[in-house]
């Protein structure tokens, strides 16, 4: 008889923990909205964060996008050739990069690089009482620490997604034309014909949503850090893991929703 009660207690504990976590994220989102509405945006800090988040993440996003585009083309070309439709590789790679691979891979890279930095920076400030020092000086930590990062992320993410897609397409084109000697016109014509603004819009919208989630989750981990360096370390790990998992799950539901709004194959 102990087994079912223990199991129920375990499920109950996990559910309560999950609900409490969602509540904390909602409370942080509410404070962020209040900070946004206050109009005090500290543009110098926003600019500093754009450099750290946007400018600093370009390398990793470009390399990820380029090599994903290249390997995707390399793999699909061989299979498509069996069916005699290798000229459509450009179209398939382009739509896949715009709708899924570009935003998701850029999001995962940003979650790893920027999410970790946000959680570690804010977490260190929390455990060294710098966050309390802000509060004592009448500065709300969400206004000073979270809002500039949030705004910088909103501005940077669409550019990072666009870069990921562009370099992915560039590498795909290079593999097709240089590696497989596919005529340039075939590749480009199919790509342009089958990629439309809706596909690009989906990528950008996903970039925005992923940026919001990464900022919220990572800043929350930083602001909840406790127990010194160990707490900062585990908070940083949690920020990356939770951001990445949430991003993949949300991407699935967002894809369903956005495919409904912007149906695929209507080019």
């Amino acid at each position: 008889m102990r087994f079912p009660t223990d199991l129920l207690a375990f499920i109950g504990r996990i559910s309560l923990h999950f609900l409490s976590y969602l509540g904390q994220l909602a409370a942080l989102a509410k404070e962020l909205l209040i900070a946004l509405r206050s109009g005090v945006w500290r543009l110098r800090l926003v600019a500093q964060q754009i450099v750290a988040i946007g400018y600093g993440s370009q390398g990793v996003v470009i390399v990820t996008g380029a090599f994903t585009g290249a390997v995707f083309t390399f793999q699909t070309y061989a299979k498509f050739k069996d069916f005699g439709v290798e000229t459509t590789v450009g179209a398939v790679v382009s739509v896949a990069l715009c709708r899924e691979l570009g935003p998701v891979l850029a999001g995962l890279m940003v979650a790893g690089r920027v999410g970790a930095a946000m959680a570690a920076d804010i977490g260190t400030m929390k455990v060294t009482e710098q966050v309390d020092a802000l509060r004592v000086m009448g500065v709300h930590p969400v206004d000073y620490l979270v809002l500039p990062r949030f705004l910088a992320m909103m501005i940077s993410m669409p550019f990072l997604v666009a870069e990921s897609i562009s370099f992915g397409l560039g590498a795909s084109f290079a593999v097709s034309s240089v590696g497989y000697q596919m005529p340039t016109a075939w590749y480009l014509t199919h790509m342009v014909d089958h990629t439309n603004m809706e596909d690009l819009s989906i990528g950008m919208i996903k970039g925005f949503v992923f940026g919001m989630l990464i900022t919220l989750i990572s800043c929350h981990q930083g602001l909840s850090a406790e127990n010194g360096a160990v707490g900062v370390g585990s908070g940083t790990t949690r920020a990356v893991v939770i951001s990445s998992l949430v991003l993949l799950v949300v991407n699935f539901f967002l894809s369903i929703l956005l495919n409904y709004v912007f149906p695929i194959g209507n080019a």
Binding site: I34, T124, M125, T128, E129, Q130, D132, A133, R135, V136, M137, G138, V139, H140
Partner: protein
């Protein structure tokens, strides 16, 4: 926000704690602390480590909310306020943290200027003048361009003090201002606290283990022991008390926690 007459807080009282209780998990840190501090008074808080001295001080500025009891600062009911409503209290009260809590990404000068800039002082010459004044008061003017990571522990603490005094708050809370300082550095801090008290009538709460400082600067001394105020009186009364626990503590005899 409650007003003074409604709450029965006397006019000359700047800080009042009524039956403040606080528990962290199973540990009961404060078990009903009652305390009144008059305008311009300097109170030193002593007691064994981990007995809730810093916790009590953080209650005064609203960093920690009590489980039970009430806290009034300048007539305002602190534990009735939300975080975003604390601004009026935090304009009157500033705090020096135990580890100084300086912002690592800012220079000494920028750290000290921070409260002024955040409170809307836009005149750059005025900010520069007041920063120089505060840094000179703690003998750190020549280090103003350094980052906190390149300062010694004592210098970091002095920078924290400069940041706490720069906007001429009515009340300053000091969490172990002398710890980690050499005797001369410690005396500089004591003199500065006395100067703030005499020149600006600043109300101060000082958590300290430095007995020499207490007898130099305190108007009254409170000893927190096992979550309660074991002693509250003048430094002269502290010397003469026949409470064995208090005597053991101030004379550094180790059976205080037995």
């Amino acid at each position: 926000m409650n007003s003074r007459p409604e709450d029965g807080v006397a006019n000359d009282v700047f800080i009042e704690l009524r039956g403040v209780k606080k528990r962290f998990g199973a540990q009961e840190v404060l078990r009903g602390v009652d305390l009144r501090l008059r305008h311009g008074e300097t109170l030193c808080v002593i007691g064994p480590s981990g007995e809730g001295k810093t916790v009590m001080m953080k209650h005064v500025i609203g960093l920690i909310k009590p489980d039970e009891g009430d806290i009034f600062v300048a007539g305002m009911h602190v534990n009735g306020l939300k975080e975003r409503e604390m601004a009026p209290i935090r304009q009157k009260v500033s705090m020096l943290f135990q580890g100084a809590a300086l912002f690592d990404n800012l220079t000494v000068e920028e750290n000290v200027a921070f409260p002024l800039l955040e409170r809307g002082v836009r005149d750059k010459a005025e900010v520069r003048r007041r920063v120089r004044e505060a840094l000179q008061a703690v003998d750190l003017d020549e280090h103003r361009h350094k980052h906190p990571t390149s300062l010694s522990g004592g210098m970091r603490k002095r920078t924290g003090i400069a940041r706490a005094i720069i906007d001429h708050s009515e009340c300053i809370l000091y969490d172990e201002p002398n710890s980690g300082l050499d005797p001369i550095g410690s005396d500089i801090i004591d003199q500065m606290i006395l100067r703030m008290q005499k020149r600006f009538g600043v109300t101060s709460i000082i958590v300290t283990h430095d007995m020499r400082s207490i007898f130099k600067i305190a108007d009254r001394v409170a000893m927190l022991y096992r979550g309660e105020l074991r002693f509250l009186g003048t430094p002269a009364q502290l010397r003469e008390t026949d409470d064995e626990v208090v005597q053991n503590f101030i004379n550094g005899r180790s059976d205080v926690t037995c």
